[in-house]
């Protein structure tokens, strides 16, 4: 499943949770709370893009962001697709 790169921001409210940020295509960030297990090699699964606009891809986050968004535009280069070994 495709993933996007994330950066850890802080611990979440529960010991199992982490707040991470995703870099958006406009250079901003979108923060969301995820389970620590969701982060693999600095990325989280987002599924396949749901929109395409040249260099940008619209992806759906696995959880609503801290400001209430599900879908964000990310740079195509920030997507990673896991290829089975």
């Amino acid at each position: 499943m495709p993933q996007v790169k994330v950066e850890r921001v802080r611990e979440g409210q529960h010991p199992s949770e982490v707040v991470v940020s995703v870099r958006t295509a406009d250079g901003g960030t979108e923060k969301l709370v995820v389970d620590a297990r969701s982060i693999r090699n600095g990325a989280i699964e987002v599924g396949y893009p749901v929109g395409d606009d040249g260099d940008r891809l619209l992806v759906e986050l696995p959880r609503e962001s801290v400001r209430g968004l599900w879908r964000i535009w990310v740079a195509r280069g920030s997507m990673i697709e896991e290829v089975p070994a």
Binding site: M1, P2, G12, Q13, H14, P15, S16, E17, V19, K31, V33, V34, D35, R37, S38, N41, E45, V46, G47, Y48, P49, V50, D52, L57, V59, E60, P62, R63, V66, R67, G68, R76, G77, M79, I80, E81, E82, V83, P84, A85
Partner: protein, 187 residues
């Protein structure tokens, strides 16, 4: 379509659905699985006299998690339980970790248990949907709507999950339109 106990167990067996730790047989009903209460919870801080706090979630840059950090304190349910008084809201979590990432067509709803609902205990505030692709523990908004304090104990059966199969595959689970496009690959 709501998954039956049989379908839920089959989904667990084939890895389409993960519940960790896996619930024992008594946790299943015909169309649901009970989850249990984690000891960690967050409680809203008491306001000091003359101090007014207002949350403005529509403000640009609002961060609900940071806001909750400011207005709540973390606690652990003691061994003799925690008495949730009437009208009080706390934030809790399920012990169980749920992973819906392996099948894009499974979603779920968290609902209360009727035995606790009759006491006035609610486990969510208008946000029961667990979207396809979710993974993590279930966050609970636990409120006592009743008239008598309710003692919460770590590990008690606190809510039930109802799994549903979506009609069709969501866009994010459908690779056809994007397969082979120019994204970074990691093997």
């Amino acid at each position: 379509m709501i998954l039956t106990d049989r379908e839920i167990k089959m989904a667990l067996e084939r890895g389409a659905l993960i519940i960790d730790p896996r619930p024992d047989e008594r946790a299943f009903a015909s169309t649901s699985v009970d989850l249990t209460l984690d000891p960690a919870f967050s409680d809203f801080r008491q306001s000091s006299a003359g101090v007014e706090i207002t949350i403005d979630p529509a403000l640009d840059g609002f961060d609900h998690d940071a806001a909750m950090e400011q207005v709540t304190e973390r606690h652990v349910i003691p061994t003799d339980g925690y008495a949730l008084v009437p009208r009080k809201l706390i934030l809790g979590w399920s012990v169980e970790y749920i992973d819906l990432r392996n099948d894009a067509r499974i979603a779920a709803r968290v609902e209360g248990k009727s035995s606790l609902g009759r006491l006035g205990l609610g486990v969510h505030v208008t946000a029961p949907t667990i979207h396809a692709g979710f993974d993590g523990r279930i966050r609970l908004e636990i409120i006592n709507h009743g008239l008598i304090p309710i003692r919460l104990r770590a590990g008690m059966r606190i809510c039930q999950l109802i799994f549903e199969q979506t009609l069709g595959t969501p866009d994010k689970g459908y690779s056809g339109r994007f397969s082979g496009q120019n994204v970074a690959r990691r093997g």
